[in-house]
Symmetry: C2
Subunit: 453 residues, 2 copies
Amino acid sequence: MPNIVFMLVDNLGWGDPGCYGGGSVRMAPTPRIDQLAADGLRLTNFNVESECTPTRAALLTGRYPIRSGNHLVRTVGEHGLAPWEVTLSQLLKGQGYATACFGKWHLGNTPERHPTALGFDEWFGIQDSTGPVFDHLNGKPDTIIRHTSVWEGVAGAPAERIADYDPDARRELDGQVVERASRYITDRAADGQPFFLYVPFTQVHHPNLPHPDFDGASGNGAFADCVMEMDHRAGQVIDAIDDAGLGDDTIIVWASDNGPPSHPTLGAQGSTGPFRGCLGSAYEGQLRVPCIIRWPGTIDTGRVSDEMVSVLDFYQTFASIAGAEVPTDRAVDSLDLGDFLAGGPSPRDGMLCFVGKTLAAVKWRQYKLHYVEYGIQPGHRYRLELQFPQLFNIAQDPREEWDLLAINLWVSEAMTPMIRDFMRSVHRFPNVPTGGDGPVEGTNLDVLAGRGS
Amino acid sequence: MPNIVFMLVDNLGWGDPGCYGGGSVRMAPTPRIDQLAADGLRLTNFNVESECTPTRAALLTGRYPIRSGNHLVRTVGEHGLAPWEVTLSQLLKGQGYATACFGKWHLGNTPERHPTALGFDEWFGIQDSTGPVFDHLNGKPDTIIRHTSVWEGVAGAPAERIADYDPDARRELDGQVVERASRYITDRAADGQPFFLYVPFTQVHHPNLPHPDFDGASGNGAFADCVMEMDHRAGQVIDAIDDAGLGDDTIIVWASDNGPPSHPTLGAQGSTGPFRGCLGSAYEGQLRVPCIIRWPGTIDTGRVSDEMVSVLDFYQTFASIAGAEVPTDRAVDSLDLGDFLAGGPSPRDGMLCFVGKTLAAVKWRQYKLHYVEYGIQPGHRYRLELQFPQLFNIAQDPREEWDLLAINLWVSEAMTPMIRDFMRSVHRFPNVPTGGDGPVEGTNLDVLAGRGS
């Protein structure tokens, strides 16, 4: 059974790495990521959920995050992965894998929802996000900022706070993550146990505070410095795998969790490449992020694919590779990418695009139909109910500017069954109600599926 | 002396070729262009003028087009390159080069301004642009459309209309251009004369009418079909060079003339990649277009450079390579790229960005300062005098959204001397007044150079 190392970058846009048209164009070269692409498969139509927590929930459960109550980033109240979810780490652990999570969790900040309670043998990192580091920078009271901490734990015992997550810690964290990851890889090479190593980096999320070694490295500001650090960190993990002699036995996935944010107080962050939108929207600039997969012997080197893949799909894919059964007592939306990785077509030709609980759009082949517009204007974000849905051909029109609905009504008819199937599955397997905002019936789904008025 | 083959595509955006992030992402793979990049130098900061005629004037004269009266596309009245311009083709012809132009001219439609009057031994193609083909499609009177024709000529005699430029001719033209270009290359290989072959293709300009062989090739509409034809045509020219055994002795340049257009009646056309703007603006989506240069033995394979280069610079570069002297009785804005092509830095760190006669912006290193905004809104284009200039760091912010002027005033001071130097040169060598819109003094330049009020 191959080892699986999954690196997830925070808030990196489709257009940021060099092999996606960024890199030196942004004065932030990414030679290690570019090399990883040359050695494996570069996906140009890899899709995530609408923000950080939903994407991570989709990755670890194979379920649309609305099913598990993880359709939004939350910071207060009970939230995250409920203990009855069956995570990818649990599936792999059940097949004899050692499992570890080093980095940002963002799927719950109570003991029963920490990584070490959900299938990971070890955890080091932060439980929430990096945004609260701003509270330190802005002089918030200690009581507010103390819940942002660096944690450490092992399965079977509560995790422990080991440090504040303050600006200095923020600069150091990904270096420490890589140190732990490298040691973990070396140890597993020594003991021969197959492993699933999940490395959710905290870079390049704001505030843009790079490690001191990368401060000024780009000559073009802190965001570019962070991109260069991010590239270097991925390279260190790859080196640890290769130096341990595990290159041929390890599937490496490197991906981003969502598109770059846009907010006046942040200034320029990541690039969405040719695509419209930003973090939190249902445009391609949010949904479509970089993803590279290296698996020598199975994936041809230098392959590039525009076939549709979702972050949901790793769940079923890795379960199949490890011989694990995915649960049948709940809805699972993950598709098996096994044939695709070996050179065949992707099994996926469509997906639902939620923003929070709203079904904002449906993607099918090169088309996307928007029901609700989540947009940005200078200075504010807005949510606009569309009187008529808008249909875009993304391959013709990556900026999603030219509404084709009037002359392509057939496309919307091809999409409606996807919504209806989803609704049927929800009625069979109700969504997990968390966070106090009620079950799915409060959304626009009934209407879109043709059941409501 | 190396042969020079310069292919210019019409209206292709930075983001259209596969090696620039388009290709299969747009369902229009560009394997030949991608291979050309792998075999040579791919420029990611290659800059052109604000539209078709200005770029072509800059290429062939090495002068900002406002100097030669070619700062706008015009279709009526006397326009184009005046007979007293010294073209690149004339310089090379003077050094013993055979010269030919096959394709779209757009630098004058009177006999003394045709290519064969300005240094090209042979010409086949159209004198103006492809837009008037719409007149045929829209049933305009024959008297209006008859001035759009396919022409043929040799130096020393007036060129002749040989066919209407109607929709069928539009589909066939680039195929015919390649046929002529290939024969020309084979003939020069036989007679051993060095040559300058200028191939300004008519694709991928609207109306999107591909050659019948490419009709439906992409499965994603006529624009994508045209991109695939464009790639194939470039490949045919490259094959002709290589098949004739001239690969090692030939500099191949392949570039676009401007960014993609945006207009409601056209629908989605090319992609500007990560950049803002469209044809006719001063944003990077217009200025920055794809450009690849192959020159075996001098240019390393697989090189990618974000150093600034202008279409102006080929004039001095090719003159130096051929041992020709550029004129000193006029202002020439071209810089010698010789060292750059051999692996050194680009000599250019700034440029003036005109839209028509207006100095819309100045570009310097990674910064751009806009004085006048040329924008698009759904349904219309606008020109907005900015009360305060806007400063963007393009490397941080390719969409030119985050104005940094207030915190980077020093940058604007670094730019002002470029305007002043330009004004000095204009007062020494007045611009050619053509088209009845007066000399440069009617523009915003005096004010920006600190001379007016």
